[in-house]
Symmetry: C2
Subunit: 298 residues, 2 copies
């Protein structure tokens, strides 16, 4: 067994905390790959639109990029967009709609964000007030939709590399934990980073980090592995979201930034009104997973 | 001489034009490198603040990242930010301020964008109305400042690789041209891509593209080389901005997206009010050029 590389946590924290962190934003541009039948994504969305499907999307429409939805009134859209840019590991932007336009024209030009997810949460004053299968009647002209990448995009790649995520082996939801790490606040949005956890052997960490690091649009590489207490997490009890999974002899917990983070930011911001997907009930884009892959970094 | 690789233009156009272009946004996070004396950047900004310096910044404070400034009222900030994300080659984001805050906290936490550039343009209704050395009296509480990367960041690297940009050899300004390529519009911002041009031998193109491609925060790799008419440009006459440079036997013109592009977008948007740097009179950040370098792509 190779020795484990040290956790990337120090790099993550240094980026957040050593004086004003220096960063630049840029966008990776992708062309559609030829020969992909994208109708399957549209057909799935139409099933949601007609309420024929209202379940969780894990494992559905395999190969297509799934996305977290956050929709806020235009008044808060600039701040939320800056929050996403400041916290790209938790909030990797896939698309931002024009105010009032329910179609995410970059990632699914035939979709309607008001109907095409299987289940929504409607938020009032920072709390979930309603769960429903469409939001047509509450999506006002001023709403802006944000689609954020999701770790489903690389779980298939991990399986193909014989590194299956534990929750897939155990047929349950990935465990998620609220950490003690503050997000970079952009008023009124703040809150703490939420992470998902998958256990691996120390000898597997390099491969796991390299594979997932090629998907910055889907949270990218782990932000920490090893002692959970370093990020204020206890993995012995029940997770804050999702299900408990077994951690076997010699394995270490590996933590990735998670798309539940923006929901924590919404909670803290106490916006009068917002809309998100219901956890696990994601938006299916027209993108396929290897279209958001970046080249290996030398 | 190696055969020239074909121009990257087809890839650029396909990204823009083949159906809805697919893209994802993400941010590269950098920590300050230790041992860099950043006081020299601050001292230069203080010279601008006191109006002791009011000239062009090319070659000033070598090694530090220079940036284009665009400032618009908060009302237009969300649209302009989306425009930058949609057109990252022309508008690579280095920092976005909070509304009313004149300090770009990511790239220069002691700076004041109202005073620390050597020269500003004040725009009314899409036209330059005034040129001045500070904008304290017109920077209202609602202004949002955007700092966008600039090709100065990689010109030193080209020189060190014995690939000096021609305008440096000829001691003049880089020639810039308005192309026939539309930017991806985000209302009210649109306009055409503006490019800078540097001539190179076909055998040099691979190296030139590889070096500049590592600076996505500074326009990145060329968007075209070869026949200028393919992008609606004529290099025989005077450029639209900057100076004419000589193109020698066997050389081909190489074109990069240019930071004048957002000024064209401002012109087209006819905003009642906006502020930019005066061309060539850039903002000096606390970043050093190799802090915005990304790893080589394998």
């Amino acid at each position: 067994m190779k020795a484990a590389r040290s956790s990337p946590l120090a790099a993550y924290l240094s980026m957040l905390r050593t004086g004003p962190a220096l960063r630049t934003a840029y966008t990776h541009l992708f062309s559609r790959q030829p020969g992909v039948d994208r109708n399957v994504a549209e057909r799935f969305r139409l099933q949601c639109r007609s309420s024929a499907f209202g379940g969780q999307t894990s494992g559905r429409v395999p190969g297509f990029v799934q996305a977290n939805l956050v929709a806020v009134p235009q008044k808060h859209a600039f701040s939320f967009l800056r929050f996403c840019l400041a916290n790209p590991r938790a909030c990797p932007l896939l698309d931002v709609t024009a105010p009032g336009d329910p179609t995410p024209r970059t990632v699914a030009h035939t979709a309607d964000l008001r109907t095409d997810l299987p289940k929504y949460w409607v938020w009032h004053d920072g709390a979930v007030a309603d769960e429903r299968q469409d939001v047509v009647d509450v999506w006002c002209d001023e709403m802006v939709g944000f689609l954020l990448g999701c770790s489903f995009s690389w779980e298939q790649a991990l399986q193909e590399a014989h590194l299956p995520p534990r929750q897939i082996e155990e047929n349950c939801n990935v465990p998620m934990f609220r950490t003690s790490l503050s997000n970079l606040p952009v008023q009124p949005f703040g809150g703490n980073l939420v992470v998902s956890m998958r256990p691996y052997l120390p000898s597997q960490l390099s491969a796991v980090a390299a594979i997932t690091g090629r998907y910055p649009g889907a949270h990218g590489a782990p932000i920490h592995w090893g002692d959970p207490h370093e990020i204020g997490v206890c993995i012995e009890g029940d997770p804050d979201w999702g299900d408990r999974v077994s951690v076997r002899e010699s394995e270490v917990p590996v933590f990735w930034a998670c798309g539940v983070t923006p929901q924590e930011a919404l909670r803290e911001a106490q916006l009068p009104f917002a809309i998100t997907h219901a956890p696990g009930h994601m938006f299916i884009t027209d993108l396929v997973d290897n279209e958001i892959l970046i080249p290996s970094l030398a």
